[in-house]
Amino acid sequence: MRETVYDKIFKPKTYTLSNGKEVKQRASRAPFILLIVLFVTVVSGEVTGVDLSMLRTRGHQFIVILTAMFPPNFNFMNNVWGPLFDTIQMSLLGSIAGALLAIPFALLSSSNIIRNRLLNGFFKLFLSILRTLPTLISALIATFIFGLGTMAGTVAIFLFTLSYIGKLMYEHIENVDMGAFEAHESMGLSKVEAFRYAIVPDVLPTYLSVSLYAFEGNIRFAAILGYVGAGGVGLLLDERLGWRDYPSVGMVLLILMLVVFVIERISEYFRMKLT
């Protein structure tokens, strides 16, 4: 047993068996971890000004908006379709473009396909950094570059999809069993042919499934991108919330919920078929 600093402070218990052997049991780390979590919780509470009594006294304000949304303003429905389609189109185009570009990126990151450590490392780092940027922030930056509108939202979704699918795919490709590749080479296939017939069939179902999943999530993201001016149904939410027109907000949310639900079911159906 290797002694760590923790073991020096909290001595392990020693048991002596009837045959004279000694067994050491480490002191449990649970109390220590719990203490840290508690400490961080208290500090975080200080920093953020959490005050639970406020929930009791003013909690009903949360319900106020929620109840104001019911019944939703059904007359507003016709105003929702346009921005909603914008949202779907943005996430569709961004997802497809991102998924396509993720292929070369994933291949360049995979150490078993491109045997160049430097290149692999560079593209892996690039994908990681890209992934750290929250979609809303890249959308915000995109609105400054491409101007307000759907183009900015599409770019933000495209960047996120690229990083998400790129990372998942290179992880998958690096874990592919290269046995079939070797077998194909032994049959006289060239490396490209062996790749096409050994790696592609293995990776393709996962790729399609991950892409569908990314698209599903992107619809949710796209719904709020309008908040920074990047087009779609978020613009409407921003506007109506600003005017405190909560029944219309309720309508937007209701339709959004239905659309997301339907798209998720469809995508789930195809993902089940792929595995």
Binding site: T48, V50, I65, I88, L92, L93, T132, R220, L253, M257
Partner: protein, 270 residues
Amino acid sequence: MNKAVAQQLEKAPNRKVYLSTIAIILTALIIWSFMGVNITGFDQRGTQIATNIFSGLFSPDLEFLFDFTSGGGVPGLLFETIAIAFLGTVFGSFLAIPISFLMSPSIVSRPVAFVTRLVVIFIRTIPSLVYGLMFIRVTGPGPYAGVLTMSLTSIGMISRLYVDVIENLDRGVLEAMTSMGCTTYQKVRYGILPQLFSSFLSVTIYRYDMNLRDATILGLVGAGGIGAPLIFAMRSYRWSEVGSILIGLVVLILAVEIFSNKLRERLVNG
């Protein structure tokens, strides 16, 4: 060609119709989505801003980036973001425990599980920014509203992952304990809880990783964190400040991701 081979050749599954239908639908969707998005390239102004952002990234406002006094600088703002995400995750994961049990078909009856599932889907669909605005009415603008938002929005995913853990419990242990004559309490205490604890913790840490990303955007509606200063800096074209914030954000999220991966690996491998 013998008869068996000929028969088998005819049995070949014909997926041409299926595949071409999907291809046609997909092409139609792509064309449709191109019609909706007005593709605009870089114009003069956009290129200028893009170069500004890049130069801001490479010449960040160092004073702002390393200002460790409470509040004002990037470290303080990041700390606030970390705290929002942390508390949101802690509250969310506690709230998710009862909900996840109510969602597990192997614990409650199917209708109850289904209804809870619907409620969770309902909670999940409302964008976090809308919750943020709703909570601001409760607490006033500031990080507290962010904490409440995070708690609510993380319930959905955490409880869904908890359900997977509960459904995949190793029942062999319980069988072994029954054979040893353990009571129900003993089975829960020594058979179920140890299994749940580390998996739940792993899920929670994973969610923390995501909450940290989400916490950065709450600032956009005034619910605390580093989002608001970022917007202000951009709107007033202070690119070196934008650069500092972005650098801080990327470094923080990368560091937390690496750390949480290490931690979860240790949890899984003991």
